[in-house]
Symmetry: C2
Subunit: 161 residues, 2 copies
DNA sequence: TAGCGGATGATAATAATTATCATCCACGAT
DNA sequence: ATCGTGGATGATAATTATTATCATCCGCTA
């Protein structure tokens, strides 16, 4: 079996059922109320293999709860991320960041202050090297974000605690 | 020398000078007018090692051209990306995308329709394995985006041409 | 079942980016 | 060097995504 490989929809279906089964228990453990809206957002999200945006989740949940607010969907998605039940595919940036360095390279990003530094890591691109396609996708390149805490933020975080 | 490694400011300085030297020539070759604003935005960007956002570039260019518009900075940055003189560090997403799959995995993203699919690629994380820090940064994890063209977009793109 | 506190819906506010458009000016042609 | 034109700019409005506010609601515990 050659890597990398696409994760199958079949795997996702079983995974979704498993995650949903204990979801209310994990909410309770966290002291979060089990509201029908929260459960619905979670169910829609975990059954989606397409990494939907808030608007798309809203559209689906709305079919079952026509009165749900878009704000609730936004809030709930952020809550799910905060408790580790979901993740953002586009984290660490709230507005576009530009780079004058067009040489191939990757980035370390501080998760706290969002400082970004260039890193040299040719091994990353090597992993895709030689491969033209992946499950129907024609490969063009890749970008890596290493998540980290910078020195300043480490001392700041230490002081807070 | 162990990889990955931070790219030094020293390297960046020389690189900036080199890039600026031929910038106007490359603009001319592309049929783009050489305006003082465009050159200033390019100069500020290529001399920045911190991946600034539009607002930050605006603030610096403004010192020299107090009348420059923020819109011009936005436009110019996008132009620079379009002609390959710069890149966005946060590309391929214009709004947040959420993921119910919390298992460690990475993503292929279609650069045209922005379809996102999960991929299995444990070798990526292995590259950082065992390493705790990198140039002052404490490492926490990493996310990889493989840029690609999906099947549908490939045929669509073929039709257009 | 009563009551508290978190959750929600409606809406306003904010922030980033893009669109519009009149004016301007870089540049090739004269 | 001057001119004419199309692209570039500045000012501003519009759009889009997200977050904040707040009155009401309802899940949860006692
Ligand atoms: Mn960079
Ligand atoms: Mn995913
Ligand atoms: Zn930091
Ligand atoms: Zn596509």
């Amino acid at each position: 079996m050659d890597r990398p490989t696409l994760i199958s929809d079949k795997w996702r279906a079983g995974y979704a059922a498993e995650r949903l089964a204990e979801f209310t228990a994990r909410c309770r453990a966290r002291g979060l109320a089990i509201t029908p809206q929260r459960v619905a957002v979670m169910r829609v999200l975990v059954n989606s293999g397409d990494h939907p945006r808030a608007e798309a989740v809203f559209a689906k949940v709305r079919r079952e709860y026509p009165n749900i607010s878009l704000a609730t969907v936004h809030r709930t998605l952020e809550t799910l991320c905060a408790i580790g039940e979901a993740r953002k595919v586009t984290p660490l940036h709230d507005s576009a960041r530009y780079d004058g360095n067009t040489a191939p390279h990757h980035h370390v990003v501080c998760v706290r202050c969002r400082k970004i530094r260039d890193i040299e890591m040719p091994e990353f691109s090597d992993l895709l090297h030689g491969r033209q396609t992946l499950g129907g996708f024609q490969l063009l390149g890749c970008s890596v974000e290493v998540h980290a805490l910078c020195r300043e933020c480490r001392s700041a975080a230490a002081k807070e605690a």
